[in-house]
Amino acid sequence: MTTPAQTSEPGRGAAFAGRVKALELQEYALAIVVVLLFVVGAILKPDTFPTVDNVRNMLTQASVVGVLAIGMTFVIATAGIDLSVGSIVAAAGVFGGILVGDNGTSTLLFIAGAVGFALLLGTVNATAIAYGRVVPFIATLAMFSIARGLALLLNDQLPVSLLDLNGGSFGNPRVFSLLWFGNGRVFGIPASVYVFIAIAIAGWIVLNRTRYGRYVVAVGGNREAARIAGVPVRRIIFSVYVLSGLLAGVATVLLCARLGSASPVSGNLYELDAIGAVVIGGTSLAGGRATIVGTFLGVLTFALIFSLMTQLNLSTEVQQVTKGLIVLGAVLLQRPEARY
């Protein structure tokens, strides 16, 4: 479901319904792309692509960028952008790692530290954009650089090992220990996939079923009209960047759990993948129209592409061209009104 900006004139009702319909058709188009990719993979690599194990693998890989993309959906819905999430992922991880220390084993401390630091950086973004009136592109571009610098500074450019946070056993990490968030499974489904899906569902509910969600889209759709209608525009804009930071912290936890360490060079260009997933999902960069389902499908699309191309052992040049073409194709499949 989607939430375009509300219009109060009854005459516009038909256009409104038209836009909603257009967005739904577009989501179907992306769903078709996802199915198509899966089928192509199943044909080209029947033994290894369409297996339960590989689906688990792809979903797990999708969960890190996926969590970022949910936050990015809210940001882009307000006609903003957040270029800093990848760097925040790195900085938050290193911060959490140092907090835990060399011989620490407290997963809670790591999670609190990482999420807290990411939240802090997101709040800096939010303050600059909402109250400092800095253009989102510039503010988050600055944070992109600052956060990367912090990630390298905090531990003298070295990664922090987190292998001790396994609750006792390395191969079979205890439930809710940090490494469990990477490879632990509940009913055969990895913990990080649960986190991703839970956040996606929560994001959908907030965007489509709460007043806050409607305010977010209204601010992006027509800021002046929203302000006049009584929407607390500044606070809404502030909140979406804080949310983006918070979700970057969650993404860090998922990544560091799988990596077993907090690396200062991780998260490289994750923001581009997140933005790409959001945009091919149908959320408009100009704001005013957002879809969590679209974002979810967009994230799956990227995960499928990456898995398929690696399994086919394509060279890196071919991979880059192919990925670009698929993204272009997915966008072109969208109806004209829905493209902007």
Binding site: T48, G171, L259, S263, N268, Q311
Partner: protein, 344 residues
């Protein structure tokens, strides 16, 4: 003219003025550096201070961080060296930084280019301005771009790795190669050395490279790429990675999939994490030393060139045009010997 336009024009003109000043003069200075002959050999101090400027790429990797540290440490050993280290943000800004460095007229320039081909013109410019350039690791693409070059032997690393893996597997098995950054000489040489040697050592084709993907020298890329390869390949006997730091992600992917007993892994570089794991034994079996101490060697060579001195071992004492730092195989058997050279 409205006030806004006036201010704008003044701003533009002042920027222009600053730009012209920063570019410095373009006059060519011919400086004769006596490298051979009567000059004292080795590291004797002549009372003269030499200024050395080093330019390195963004240190977003443990090895590059170690390069910076080693360069600074080597310079600190010599009281007659005035040393400045410039860290660039990317290839273009590194070129600009080197231009600014040329304007300062140092006695020698030490450069590890982010991209050797892209920075060759600015290196040639420095050489023409009479500033000797010492090139580290990633090669410039023209012979007149540097007075001396210090590099690791990337092709040799590929050779050593292939010999090691072929011996361990007795010429039968599936090998996965996780490369570094695609497109740079380091990666191409390490891959080529590996592939060429496998063909020679196992002519029957018993060892197959079943997957070859770039990991960009980045641990989380190594992690995700290996996760996918593990899905695609049901039987892997060995993994040849181009970098110790990146290999940490690859190792974790293998462990997460519970396939650590199925294969073994080799890295490159000689990081302390890698050496620790080699000592413990298990999945990580070997690494090939690619010592960031070559930066220290480069600084020392720069100093000698600037002072007009040379290596005492050479007859007559000179600074050689190219120093290739040998790679060494580090395994459990000899890791104790190499631990002190580990970086990080």
């Amino acid at each position: 003219m409205s006030r806004k336009r006036l201010l704008g024009s003044i701003a533009a003109l002042s920027l222009l003025a600053i730009g012209v000043a920063a570019c410095g003069g373009t006059k060519t200075v011919t400086k004769t550096v006596t490298v051979n002959g009567n000059a004292a050999a080795g590291g004797g101090s002549t009372g003269k201070t030499v200024s050395i400027i080093a330019s390195v790429p963004p240190t977003d990797h443990g090895w590059l961080g170690a390069i910076s540290k080693d360069a600074k440490a080597a310079a600190a050993q010599h009281p007659d060296v005035k040393f400045e280290l410039l860290q660039a943000a990317d290839s273009d800004s590194q070129a600009q930084q080197i231009e600014q460095a040329i304007a300062k007229k140092p006695d020698a320039l030490v450069v590890l280019p982010q991209d050797g081909a892209a920075l060759t013109p600015v290196a040639q410019k420095a050489e023409r301005a009479g500033i000797p350039v010492i090139n580290i690791d990633r090669l410039f693409t023209a012979p007149d771009a540097a007075t001396a070059t210090v590099l690791g032997d990337n092709y040799q690393i590929g050779v050593l790795a292939a010999n090691y893996i072929a011996d361990q597997l007795k010429c039968t098995g599936n090998v996965v190669e996780i490369q570094g950054l695609a497109g740079i000489s380091v990666t191409t040489d390490r891959s080529k050395g590996f592939a060429d040697t496998l063909k020679k050592k196992c002519p029957g084709g018993g060892i197959k490279i079943v997957a070859q993907q770039p990991g960009d020298f980045n641990p989380d890329k190594g992690l995700t790429v290996m996760e996918n390869i593990l899905q695609a390949q049901k039987k892997i006997d060995a993994v040849y990675t181009h970098d110790d730091d990146m290999a940490q992600g690859v190792v974790q992917a293998i462990r997460n999939a519970n396939r650590a007993d199925e294969m073994f892994l080799t890295g490159v570089g000689g990081s302390s994490d890698a050496m620790k794991q080699i000592k413990e034994g298990g999945l990580y079996r070997a690494t090939f030393l690619y010592n960031p101490n070559m930066a220290g060697t480069a600084v020392n060579m720069a100093r000698l060139i600037a002072l007009g001195q040379g290596f005492g071992e050479l007859v007559p004492p000179e600074v050689p045009r190219q120093v290739v730092v040998p790679a060494a195989v580090v395994t459990k058997a000899n890791v104790d010997k190499y631990e002190k050279y580990a970086f990080n």
